[in-house]
Symmetry: C2
Subunit: 524 residues, 2 copies
């Protein structure tokens, strides 16, 4: 009993949390209760019952079916129900008159045949691509037609049945619409804006989270890839929200579709608010989101750039990504507030571009690092370079690189005079990547660890097959993997740069929306 009491308590807590999360849920529930109550009173009270009779039960059905979460959706369903019922009523009365005038034997045959035809045609039409949105309307046509014509056949007065039904549907629709619009209305347009802003925030946050984790990851506790696929990272809160946005294009579409049905209201004052522009902004945002998805893929890839290499570009990557995230979130805020702040936006965009350019320059300066991982290794036991060609190559390149390293180290010793004005100056132990023998050794060790981690790919059997079929061993495979590992940093930065490039288009799309929706200028 004590156990059951505890679970009830937990259950009440869960319900309470659920209500607190979004108070509109409880409002919606109370509104439905009120709407069905109001329409039921029409039968419970004597006066309206004497006017309308039992036909009023159709009002109850209408309210229960039509009452949706948002005003736009309710209008949309109401339109479908009204037009569907009207069309079905007209058709039914016409067919019933024709059937009546054709004699007693032919009447039921004509009626049965017409039911079959209407059912077939309406079901076919609702599958037509441009009519799919009126699916519910066609369903209404089918059952309303059948109901009217069948009861008309038995009661003898199809026109009266049709009129009674239309009356009661109109009453139900009116009650549903009034309750929905007058009492704490929930507008689809408002929800659409909130959803868009949520997606902007999710993309911005997820980008930052992804970059932070990438730069933090020193390979010490790398979870397996399979978890990536199944999304089981407890520390990636932003990513979870973000992933949901990728699959929510249908939600944006349906909200925009509902919003079109809503009259001007609140801050959406003018007619013909450009809801379709919101959908476009969502599409462009999604195209940015795919880049973040790819960044996330690099973050959890099995082939990782060595930590020391990441550290070299840390500051530039961090700066570019945090500014880009800031821009994305500020775009979201502009949409939320329905304001255009051209000045702050331009300056943000400039900052994003300049830090991206700084990242590009830094990569240019350090580009040798991305491909030279195999040259300054002190222990060449693995490179079994039997051919003089590759030996020679290796020697020449590595001598040039040690020159370079020496110069870099010197430049850094002199207080970094101009060489890397904007790059981070990490602790000395990590600074000379592979330059000092000690560092080089630790780097080598790190790489081996890295490779051991790649247990699942490429798999063992494939290695054997590959060695056998090619029969060339002048290039140890470890080296090839190592080189690809360094290039994974290039991939990460390229994707980040591509993300920034797409931001231009995002800014454009938001500007287009701001223009068409006449956002207020905000020069604060």
């Amino acid at each position: 009993s004590a156990g059951a009491g505890f679970s009830v308590e937990g259950w009440i807590k869960a319900v309470w949390e659920f209500c607190k999360e979004d108070s509109n849920r409880i409002k919606y529930s109370l509104k439905v209760g009120l709407a069905v109550l109001l329409v039921s009173l029409l039968i419970l009270f004597q006066a309206p019952y004497q006017v309308f009779g039992t036909n009023i039960i159709w009002s109850i059905l209408t309210v229960a079916i039509m009452f949706e979460y948002t005003v736009g959706e309710t209008f949309n369903k109401g339109f479908n129900r009204a037009l569907g019922s009207l069309l079905a009523g007209i058709l039914a009365v016409a067919v019933a008159q024709a059937a009546l005038s054709s004699g007693h034997v032919a009447e039921p045959i004509i009626i049965a045949f017409s039911i079959f035809i209407i059912g077939t045609v309406a079901s076919f039409m609702k599958q037509w691509p441009s009519l799919i949105q009126y699916e519910y309307g066609f369903r209404v046509i089918v059952f309303t037609f059948c109901l009217i014509i069948v009861t008309g056949y038995r009661m003898g007065n199809p026109a009266k049945t049709a009129m009674d039904r239309l009356y009661s549907i109109a009453i139900g629709a009116l009650v549903a619409v009034l309750v929905n619009v007058l009492i704490c209305p929930s507008w689809a347009g408002e929800k659409l804006h909130k959803e868009l802003v949520k997606q902007f925030d999710a993309v911005g946050d997820s980008l930052e989270e992804c970059v932070r984790k990438y730069l933090e990851d020193d390979g010490s506790n790398h979870p397996e890839f399979s978890k990536t696929v199944m999304d089981e990272f407890p520390d990636e809160i932003a990513y979870k929200r973000f992933k949901a946005t990728l699959n929510s294009s249908a939600k944006i579409d349906s909200l925009a579709n509902s919003a079109k049905w809503e009259p001007p209201h609140g801050r959406f004052k003018h007619f013909f608010y450009p809801w379709s522009e919101c959908v476009k902004v969502g599409a462009v945002l999604r195209s940015c989101a795919y880049e973040v998805m790819a960044l996330h893929g690099v973050l959890h890839s099995e082939i990782q750039a060595p930590y020391n290499l990441k550290i070299t570009f840390q500051r530039e990557i961090q700066e570019a990504s945090s500014r880009a995230a800031e821009l994305v979130r500020s775009l979201g805020k502009d949409i939320m507030k329905m304001k255009r702040n051209l000045r702050s936006r331009t300056s943000l965009l400039k900052m994003v571009h300049s830090s991206t350019l700084r990242l590009q320059r830094s990569i240019y300066i350090h580009s040798y690092l991305l491909t030279s991982g195999h040259d300054y290794s002190p222990d060449n036991s693995n490179s079994n370079s039997t051919k003089p060609l590759s030996k020679q190559l290796s020697h020449n390149l590595s001598s040039a690189l040690s020159d370079l390293h020496a110069h870099l180290a010197a430049g850094d010793g002199n207080g970094g005079e101009g060489m890397l004005p904007n790059s981070a100056t990490p602790p000395t132990a990590q600074n000379g990547i592979g330059v000092l023998p000690a560092a080089a050794e630790s780097y080598q060790e790190h790489l081996k660890k890295q490779l051991r981690r790649q247990h699942s790919w490429p798999s063992r059997e494939v290695d054997d097959e590959f060695e056998g079929s090619i029969g060339v061993d002048f290039l140890p495979k470890m080296k090839a993997l190592e080189s690809t590992a360094s290039l994974s940093l290039a991939t990460f930065t390229s994707l980040l740069i591509e993300f920034v490039a797409r931001l231009d288009h995002l800014v454009e799309a938001v500007d287009q929306l701001a223009k068409m929706a006449k956002f207020k200028q905000d020069d604060s």
Copy 2:
């Protein structure tokens, strides 16, 4: 009139095409027509009408609302309607008895209050995450409860009203289910498998198309990026299909949800077919699809690797991607045929891995190309290297690289003895990228063209701002862009390699499905 006649003709043609595309559409329509006809006959014929009376109109409503495209969905909706009606009936009878025994004054008050409570509670419960799938059931509870209790109040016998209603709903449900299952049934499980296979094909085809276009693209007619966002590439047929699959996770989910309701049938002979495994396979496939999306992003990126560079890796990229695409399609075929062909799958996987390894090796061998774009340029007018440091660096590195180039050229001259056993040997004009003066010049020109193309990013104003704020001009920006351009090839190949890495998990997921669904072994 002639014009109208023509448009009618075109319209008929369109309808005909629509039917031919999927003959199930016409079958479904005829089935709906038949179902409503059958249920209407219960009223049109004298004998059943005398048994059931006008209450039978509820059967018509049930058929029209319950009749869905697939068997599983019909069962699901039928379950919702049946259970909802049953619960509402029990509740209504109980409340009505209580109201009746409380006297004439209290009766309508109790009834009104109960309607409000039921409407509110049911609407609240249907928003609860784990109950959302029974949304329709809660709707049924609300209107059935209101209908029974209100008509019961007016007619005086709520228990009889409830029973009549349940009878007629049961009849309607029976007709809908029988017609749906016995006449050309459309199974959700079958559709789910077809949808999955379609997605496998779309991913495979799109990968191939993307790689083909990437390797073909010599920068001569590069469309603007904005078109990428809006998907207006007329020549990317596979991509269009592919893009649709990315947004169709909801479709897979709902089909799997419907399939769970279907009894064993056809080739899905055993109970508890692992439908949720199909959803998992879809999720893993989507994680592969995101990589293809990123590849597509690189394809249409404004920063492009020079054509000559692409050509160097052409054969390896092509081989790896076409084998990967073949593997993806063969996995799809296995699911379609519900067969496991371990032997052919293993050999395909081996081939994919070995060609990916070859690609990695080729990148390792040529990795200097990816970052050395700035070193062998004959006209150094732009590099205004005022600092002796960078001059020195540049000199050392470039001397090492010319050594390398010379060796490469020599190796190639000797019939490519062992150096690049598997790499393509493109025409000589393109082979020595920037090695021979003539080639270097054309390469340089190409780069300039490349940079001219980047009109929109980084934008002009930002450039100015950047130059001003940093005040460092020792590194021309063109060079930075150029370096990033070459690294874009590294990005493309890294993403391709990551795609292949994820294939392992896709194979695993399909194997898991095959095991749980007891696919037949196929060792042909």
